[in-house]
Symmetry: C2
Subunit: 79 residues, 2 copies
């Protein structure tokens, strides 16, 4: 998700599109990416640490974007 | 997020990139969009209904994508 104050042309375009289609209540839209990763790791904490590192180093640009690791769950049948 | 079975070239490219950078544990990546909307509405349920309609009709393609309305909260100072 773009940090506060960072321009977001995609979000702006979506806001304009929604408003022109009659959704007048839409005041602001911010657009970001959502990734779901399946990570092979010995336990959930190791997977989280790996996800944190990939997000910070590679998937997000920490200068202009924020990121959140939403949840780490074990896939069924992994153990 | 692409539905199960739907091709996801962006996710595949990210998986390949992460693996080639040494993140061998990454088995699968699915890529989707995340939108944060500020909606002017009389109450939260009306905002949720509006978001549901926009997601289904305009923001997602229900043939190949799934979507989730994560949460609806009142912004501070709205009342």
């Amino acid at each position: 998700m773009p940090k506060p104050g960072v321009n977001d042309p995609e979000g702006e375009a979506i806001r304009g599109g929604l408003q022109s289609l009659g959704y007048d209540g839409v005041e602001r839209v911010r657009a970001g990416k959502h990734y779901r990763l399946h990570i092979g790791a010995p336990e959930a904490n190791a997977a989280r640490a790996s996800a944190e590192e990939m997000a910070n180093k590679l998937l997000a640009n920490p200068v202009i974007q924020t990121y959140v690791i939403e949840s780490v769950t074990e896939a069924e049948g992994d153990r």
